[in-house]
Subunit: 243 residues, 2 copies
């Protein structure tokens, strides 16, 4: 069972103030790179695993998707998603992705943004997603990069010369990590890149793209504070195809 | 052009004393994992890119390979390889992998151990290797892990509590890294996992396995000093198939 931190009132209030909660996809600097991994959604049936406020679901129907199903564990997020979605081709369901069941060969494209690192059982979900896709269906997702989730103390360190580094440890020790992000005790599950790649393969996917995302130099010109994010990638973006 | 540090007398002397130079494959703790990525070599034609002292070439003919070609830039290493190889099915050539040419559809298996991070032009080599393999031919290689090659100061750091971390920076800044390993000024080329994966794909390979290698808990029981290597993986092991 995944932790449902998004329904914690303090977490929800803080999360709701983030640029990506206020401005949607335009507030997520990795969105252009993630979007580039997606095939044309026009006329396709999509599922969004961890849909949050529904920004991606609404983008997809606006881009021509015939049907979009958003799944999330958070009651508060889904309430806002429903309130902000007018299109009848979008529907939402409240489910824990750790024990999700889906109809077979139902979707053309599965999508997930910054959600899978909260789950305890990736093998089960990847098999469920695989079986729910049509042959040659596509699965595109982002997660926090394993370099980002691994450390026992995930905080920048400045040495006496002013050099800033990311103190990596525990990379090969997969498992839960309790961190303080927006509120105390947010529970994530650290997995290596090897595990993401091999779990996809075991589930029956062929990897088609892997991106270690950091802000572009143009983005840093706009937001100089982001330059540290090039010292170690914050996100991993993946595209795979049903075999 | 790759740096030929192995022909530097001080480097060569120090390298010749390493366990993997004295004991061959049995002295390389990642060898069992790399070997597990190889198909059966029996009756196959192999090429070893960066063959060094020829340990792998001799292992392959002993395991039944019909023909093995070892390539290396180092005159000193090849001299010892030739002197220690009796089998007529093994041959060696001195070449810089940065401008290697190979006959088309000549090999069943291409292999490379801890060599590719010295090269300046990976795109060219991967295309050359691809074209030199028969259809469905296999390419298996190890490199220093990008987490290992990235830092401006690749040294363990102990904090006041005794916790030891790897000070990661510059991960997304690909390019040369001059480090002191056995001797000063060893020149490596840092690339991200994304680049290894996408360069394979562009060359026409399909990724079949990716391993972020660290010593197993059993190996650490034998060699307690290796436990730090689980804090961040020292090697990346990859298998791919010609499309």
């Amino acid at each position: 069972m995944a932790q449902n931190i998004y329904d914690d009132p303090d977490f929800f209030r803080a999360y709701s103030g983030l640029p990506r909660s206020v401005n949607g996809l335009d507030g997520a600097p990795e969105w252009p790179s993630l979007r580039a991994l997606l095939p044309d959604v026009s006329g396709r049936r999509l599922i969004d695993l961890g849909c949050g406020f529904g920004w991606f679901c609404r983008w997809a129907v606006n881009a021509g998707a015939s049907e979009v199903l958003g799944i999330d564990i958070s009651e508060k997020m889904l309430a806002r998603a429903v309130a902000e979605t007018a299109d009848a081709n979008v529907s939402y369901e409240r489910k824990d992705l750790d024990d999700l069941d889906l109809p077979p060969s139902k979707f053309d494209i599965a999508y997930s943004s910054l959600t899978l690192h909260y789950l305890t059982d990736l093998d089960r979900l990847f098999t469920t997603v695989h079986d729910s896709l049509v042959p040659s269906g596509v699965f595109v997702f982002s997660v926090e990069h394993p370099i980002y989730t691994a450390p026992s103390s995930p905080q920048w360190v400045a040495d006496p010369t002013g050099r800033v580094t990311w103190p990596l440890d525990q990379y090969l020790a997969e498992g839960p990590r309790s961190t303080d992000w927006l509120t105390a005790g947010v529970l994530k599950h650290h997995r290596t890149i090897e595990t993401y790649v091999s779990t996809l393969r075991v589930a029956g996917f062929v990897l088609s793209a892997l991106r270690e995302w950091g802000p572009s130099l143009e983005q840093i010109d706009q937001e100089p504070d982001w330059s540290r994010e090039r010292e170690r990638p914050p996100f991993l973006l993946v595209a795979a195809q049903r075999d």
